[in-house]
């Protein structure tokens, strides 16, 4: 059952990663205005995300505005959006598939090899989702870094990494770790082929009950 435990661990890691991917997609803090350099104390902090840009006033108010035009957006934001949405969708499908394929569920129990393959497919989808997130976040981070060190950028308009990027990195790591745990629980083909009763659902109480009942009722009249 250690295998099953590893699967469960992988599933919950990947689930956490998926939630993190959703959170970092929705968060507006992909980059935030930098206070490095002359230590300018400003009354407004600027944030930019994939969907909106925000300004946080020192009075505690936050003003946000969705980006107006889809087509006028910069290419890297559009591709980051696409990658993140694809990662969320892949994670969703992976979640459903690995629930079906994991050993602790009773769905499709009659065919352990197929079940194992489904679990591996779910894990692979989680791996892909993590890779997509990693690509999007790292690309965005590279661009932010380039812009920061570009000498033609004015000091006041510099941006640095926001919290959403770190959430994205952590989520990608979790999803990839969980996906690889799900993937490395390969079924053993020889053992499941040589097993005498492949259709037996295991030593659960529910499965054995009718057998006991039959034997008891057969035994009854015979014994008398």
């Amino acid at each position: 059952m250690a295998n099953s435990g590893l699967q469960l661990l992988g599933y919950f890691l990947a689930l956490g990663g998926w939630v993190g991917i959703i959170a970092s997609t929705a968060l507006p803090q992909w980059k935030q205005s930098s206070y490095a350099g002359d230590a300018i104390i400003t009354a407004v902090g600027l944030y930019e995300g994939l969907w909106m840009s925000c300004a946080s006033q020192s009075t505690g108010q936050v003003q946000c505005k969705l980006y107006d035009s889809l087509l006028a957006l910069e290419g890297h934001i559009q591709s980051a959006r696409a990658l993140m949405v694809v990662a969320v969708l892949l994670g969703f499908v992976g979640m459903v598939l690995s629930v079906v394929g994991m050993k602790c569920t009773r769905v499709g129990d009659s065919n352990p090899i197929t079940k194992g393959r489904i679990a591996i497919a779910g894990g692979a989808l989680f791996l892909l989702a993590g890779l997509c997130t990693l690509t999007a976040v790292s690309w965005y981070a590279t661009l932010v870094t380039q812009e920061f060190f570009n000498p033609s950028t004015p000091v006041n308009a510099r941006f640095e990494f926001g919290p959403a990027l770190f959430v994205g990195w952590a989520a990608a790591g979790l999803a990839m770790l969980g996906g690889s745990f799900l993937c490395c629980t390969c079924p053993e083909p020889e053992r499941s082929n040589s097993s005498p009763q492949p259709y037996r659902p295991g030593p659960s109480a529910a499965a054995r009950e009718p057998v006991v009942k039959l034997s008891a009722s057969t035994k009854g009249p015979l014994g008398v």
Binding site: G60, V62, V212
Partner: protein, 300 residues
């Protein structure tokens, strides 16, 4: 499998629906052997299990299938109502300005912050309420507390229900644990629905009373509020919790004695502990057609 049902129908120690719950303690103490001897006294009604038995087994199977489906229905409801409750707690439209106020923007007030969305340029300005120690209205504080309680209870109920589903292998050696976990999940969901509905209805009633008293006294402050979609979500989530809890507790409780699996939970446990298990093993093998017929014939 039908022959199993018809045999079970005639078995003298088949407990009735009410009998089993009351007599489970006696079941524990009864040894297995006398029970087998008791079979000599077959009730007269069971001598010929012909057509009625077949009908009952069909209805039995249908009801058992329905019970399994009901679990998933309850799971669906529990998932969405827990989600609704959480979303309602953390979104900002508990109060929204009514149409008759002189505003060009949508003003939403939530439990934690209020936001104004400008209708023209789409800029959304949010302002958090003052610190938690500042002066807040009783309505706000109580609704916050009730909604968080409801969130936690609903989440706990949902997780318990997930572990208690028939298709999840959790504690497989423990008989009857699934029904118990479903029952616990149902009770938790019912308990979660209560603070949720109290909180959201209280908030809604309070907003309504505020507004109608303003109108009654003919005071016009320039902005009037009605309750918004978060409040509706809270109510819907609590009602969904009630539905899921009712399905899990009442329906599964009424149907729990039907079907092949749940009839002998206590005698099963006994069978594990005594020699009956070896008996079961030795009689499991010859389940051929003739053995089947023999089993039925010796009954009649």
């Amino acid at each position: 499998m039908e022959y199993l049902y018809s045999i079970r129908l005639c078995h003298p120690d088949t407990p009735a629906v009410g009998e089993e719950r009351e007599g489970k303690d006696q079941d524990f103490q009864d040894p297995r052997v006398p029970e087998a001897q008791k079979t000599s006294s077959i009730p007269a009604t069971c001598v010929a299990p012909g057509l009625p038995a077949a009908h009952v087994s069909l209805a039995d199977r249908l009801l058992a299938k329905m019970r399994d489906r009901l679990q998933y229905v309850a799971c669906f409801f529990a998932f969405f109502s827990a989600g609704f409750l959480v979303v309602a707690t953390w979104t900002d439209c508990w109060m929204v300005n009514a149409d008759d106020s002189l505003e060009v923007s949508t003003k939403c007030r939530g439990l934690w912050w209020e936001c104004v969305t400008n209708a023209f340029d789409g800029i959304r300005t949010c302002d958090e309420y003052d610190s938690i120690y500042a002066e807040h209205s009783l309505k706000l504080v109580v609704t916050r507390a009730l909604m968080i309680t409801a969130d936690i209870l609903a989440g706990f109920g949902f997780i318990t229900l997930l572990l208690g589903l028939d298709c999840v292998k959790f504690l497989p050696a423990e008989p009857y644990i699934k029904a118990r976990m479903c029952f616990v999940a149902g009770t938790t969901l019912l308990t979660a629905g209560a603070p949720g509905i109290i909180g959201s209805v209280w908030y809604a009633v309070d907003v309504y009373v505020e507004r109608s008293s303003l109108i009654f006294h003919n005071i016009f402050l320039g902005i009037q509020y009605k309750f918004g979609w978060s409040c509706w979500l809270g109510m819907a989530g609590s009602l969904g919790c009630f539905v899921a809890g009712a399905v899990l507790t009442c329906c599964l409780y009424l149907l729990k004695d039907i079907g092949p699996e749940r009839n002998y939970p206590y005698s099963m446990r006994k069978a594990y502990s005594t020699t009956a298990i070896s008996m079961a093993k030795s009689y499991a093998a010859p389940r051929t057609q003739t053995a089947r017929m023999y089993a039925v014939d010796t009954r009649v």
